[in-house]
Amino acid sequence: MQAGFAMVESGFTRAKNACNIMMKNLMDFSVGSIMWLLIGFSLMFSAGGNGFIGDLAFFAGKNADSASSLGWTFWIFQCVFAGTAATIVSGAMAGRTKFSGYLAYSAVICAVIYPISGHWAWAGLSGGSGWLGDAGFLDFAGSTVVHSCGGWLALAGAITLGARKGKYTPDGKPRAILGHNIPLAALGVFILWFGWFGFNPGSATAGVPAIGYIAVTTNLAAAAGAITAMFASWFFGRKPDVAMALNGVLAGLVAITAGCDCVTIWGSVIIGGLAGVLVYVSVVFIDSVLKIDDPVGAVSVHAVCGAFGTLALAFVHKDIGTEGYSVIGQFLTQLKGVAAMFVWAFGCGMILFNVIKYTIGLRVTEEEELRGLDISEHGNEAYSGFQIFTAQ
């Protein structure tokens, strides 16, 4: 999955920061894996602790294979989820974040922030109990637990950092800063689409027939998202925008993740399709109205569509009409989860990023930003030899 995110983020941003993005995606998963081993997994999945937080039973990986009947397979699978939550943030903060600050917050996210909220919803997977999961909150593969968590953190990060230089005109109109390699971004989206077949069906954690069903809903939501996002950009903008269609795929995937096992077939098309429109509206809204600079649209894709998908599943659940299922009841439970995640992730994010800002430092200097993070932070060039218009 990191591969996909790295490609998408890098493709959607400028050439002068491409190495930096690669490095960040590499490092958040690397640092995250170690943090996950040390403490994250234990906080999230130890059966001890209470409904809000696990204990340290699996500290430093001790006996972590006993958490689930799947043993270490469960651990590695969950590790990838944790890495995903962390990596979502990097996209929203691309092009201006100090690398050392980035390392710091990646570690904190995987060690503490993600595991705690994750525990609320998913502790049941390893025989523990989390207050959200116990309340009947449905999030099969992480629309809220993983994506919204990462997305709201990303929002906090983008706000704390401020916009890239030149993103807004003096009178506050947003300027387009074009991605440097759309084929790379498209490749990343295709990789993610494929990877999602690992994520979602994999969350069934067993070779049951459900896997086929989940793959179908996942696929249809992605397809619907691509189509509606394309038409949205065609209708509201001028022409069918490739970057938007690609975001539409991701929007559909993120939105269906919560309900991929429990919505109807056409429900998945509806969720994906609405997510595709939503992502367009949300990107434009955040960019032009809120004036928050999110270079790759991470907040719209992960936070907004993740929240949307989590809520929407209540209306297209397979069990609708069967006894014991109440649309309103389920919706309110879902809403509780979505709201809790927003408060937790956005709140923690604002604190975390501000702490970093006033200690390690969160943003590079203006000169470093202009020259590009590749050279100023890493002394590397992404495309040595290629002639790149260094000013546009």
């Binding site: 300027r175 387009a176 950009s233 509201f236 970057a243 938007m244 990107v283």
Partner: protein
């Protein structure tokens, strides 16, 4: 001798080269450039944000010629590049007091052709 610099639309390059060959001007150098002229650029949108492209892609041609070749060369460039639309381009002509062929060390009119 003169140094002729011309900015043309990229897609006319092949036609200009053709026209120059017919006038027996075989030597030229080409670089890519961005230009602002009467042509105003166009609007695009990227992920929902409009932007203006006002530096347009152009091709810059540089040709060193002897004085009697100036007119044929200019005519050929115009013949190849003109479409009648704004953005067709511009030609600058400058004095070229000296020219040297590196391989042989020849100078002046002999060297240029």
């Amino acid at each position: 001798m003169k140094l002729i610099i011309a900015y043309i639309q990229p897609e006319r390059l092949t036609a200009v080269k053709q026209a120059l060959y017919e006038k027996e001007v075989f030597k030229l150098s080409v670089t890519n450039a961005l230009g602002c002229g009467q042509q105003k650029g166009y609007h695009e949108s990227y992920r929902g944000v409009d932007y203006e492209v006002n530096l347009l892609k152009k091709v810059r041609i540089e040709i060193g010629v002897n004085d009697d070749f100036v007119k044929p060369t200019v005519d050929a460039i115009i013949a190849g590049a003109r479409t009648g639309n704004i953005g067709d381009g511009k030609i600058f002509i400058m004095d070229l007091p000296e020219c040297i062929r590196i391989r042989t060390g020849e100078t002046g009119s002999e060297a240029i052709g």
